[in-house]
Amino acid sequence: MFAFIVRRIIQATVVMLVIGFIGFSVKHQLGDPVRDLVGISVSIEEREALRQELGLNDSFLVQYGRFLKNAMHGDLGYSFFYKRPALDVIFDKAPATIELVFAASLIILLISVPVGLYSAIYPKRFFSKFAMGVSIVGVSIPVFLTAIVLIYVFAVQLHWLPSYGRGETVDVFGWESGLLTIDGLRHLVLPSIALSSIMLPLFIRLIRSEMMEVLETEYIKYAWAKGLSRRRIWMVHAFKNTLLPVITVGGVQLGILIAFTILTETVFQWQGMGFMFLEAVERSDTALLVAYLVVVGALFVVVNTVVDIIYGLINPTVTVASR
């Protein structure tokens, strides 16, 4: 276990170094951050002086070296636009994204498990076929279209729910949460539905097919023969075994979900990391960009590791160290 974690940490460091290098080598190509800082009539010399001050005129290696040195001290650079350390900016924006992803995951979980199980157990019933039909249509609709339709129907036409932003947030030990106010929750509804719409069909189908496979196995047949109750067979014996692959896939998909927040956050002006990333691209806020990439890379490694550990805990036949 210990060796495993050490290996993962080394791996994460390598991944982050590579990401930092890639991010760093592209940053020169993303435009000139100075132009976004000054008014349009500022003279060329003034701008040049500013570039010098920011160290943008140093050679690539000098800049990368400086970046690495600072990164060792946990300093991933300074956002030009926010005028604050990039990591601070990201951590300020993270709660918004995490809450959005959390809400979307909750929706996915609460709907996909019962629907997936039901349609696996009763594949011939109308509701199962209907659910399968809806889910394949759902998988075919791009998330930004879902988002637009939701805004148009529920915000503009019906005036039921707000169309943008996070609404009222409450500061809980430095974590700006929108989950504790009614206004914040109302704002969360449409974006989280839009975000969950990509993964929900996928999970329904996954749970269904896994469950169907498990129901065909020998030991379930054996359980039937033993005369166990239906509920016990489905919920304990079958469902538990369905969980394993679902968790594996879920871990991978969580990363994708975080990436998809870019689209959702853009349409809903949700002030999270995805929105920040896209704005940073448009503003050439390069330090923030590199920091974002490093943080997301780290997040992915962490999620993967946790998934592997959970996998090991649930399934005793896989020893964590051997992976």
Partner: protein, 306 residues
Amino acid sequence: MQTKRQKFKESYLLYSFKRDKVAMVSFTILTIFLLAALFAPVLAPYDPYDTASIDIMDSEIPPSWVADGDSRFFLGTDIMGRDLLSTMLYGLRISVMIGIGAVILQAIIGIGVGLVSGYMGGKVDAILMRIADVQLSFSTLMVAIIVSAIVQLTFGVGRYEQLAVPLLVVIIGIAEWPQYARTVRASVLGEKNKEYVEAARVIGLDSKRIMFSHILPNSLSPVLVISTVQVANAVMSEAALSFLGLGMPVSRPSIGSLINAGFEYIFSGAWWLTFFPAILLIIFILVINLLGDWLRDVLNPKLYKG
């Protein structure tokens, strides 16, 4: 032996296809779409790339059956005065090109890596799969945003229009090859210890030959199944990128960039600008997914989960 099995499969494929109405309808629609995309220059009433024929005064004409419609433009015109139907046909062509191109690239990289990784095992396998993991941690969108931002700036102005399609193929191809690699690797691991491979090894065939002419053909059905899904994914990725303004340039719109352009007009009353391209995109992806589903059911391959 080999060919007989293949034949059997084909006939079974055909048999179940004939029995499945959804598959047949999907296939028909997909064929129509693909033909429409292929023959867009012939079918389209106008050439949307011929800027000289466009008149700004024709802009935002609603579909022909609506009041104020114009019989010259069946589905109406866009903000530049281009015929929407023609623009959509050309857009579909671009989306199809990118979708298929990207999947071919994914397949080449992914199958190669998957075969080597699965067959060699050990260190090579570990390293390759870690690379795939890292690659996966950057979703398509992020790779695309960065790469396209660079390329848009590195190559001169005039050339972006021509470069956009290959560029998007490369971006989406690179971002999603691990899907293939994992699938192929999984099925190679399954095949590797089977007798026919052992036999080939005993005869003394080299590993390249074993991999490509023995293991690969037997791993093809999962590849076929994920290919359909991946085409749909690639088309969606392209649409998402264009929606973020990082895809096709305004003068060579894909379906995604058409939807993006229409999004600004969603409240203006010009509903057709978003509606028709959106419907086209959804139907296109839907039929591919339905076919993929059917293939999965019929071939029932062992897929790598995730």
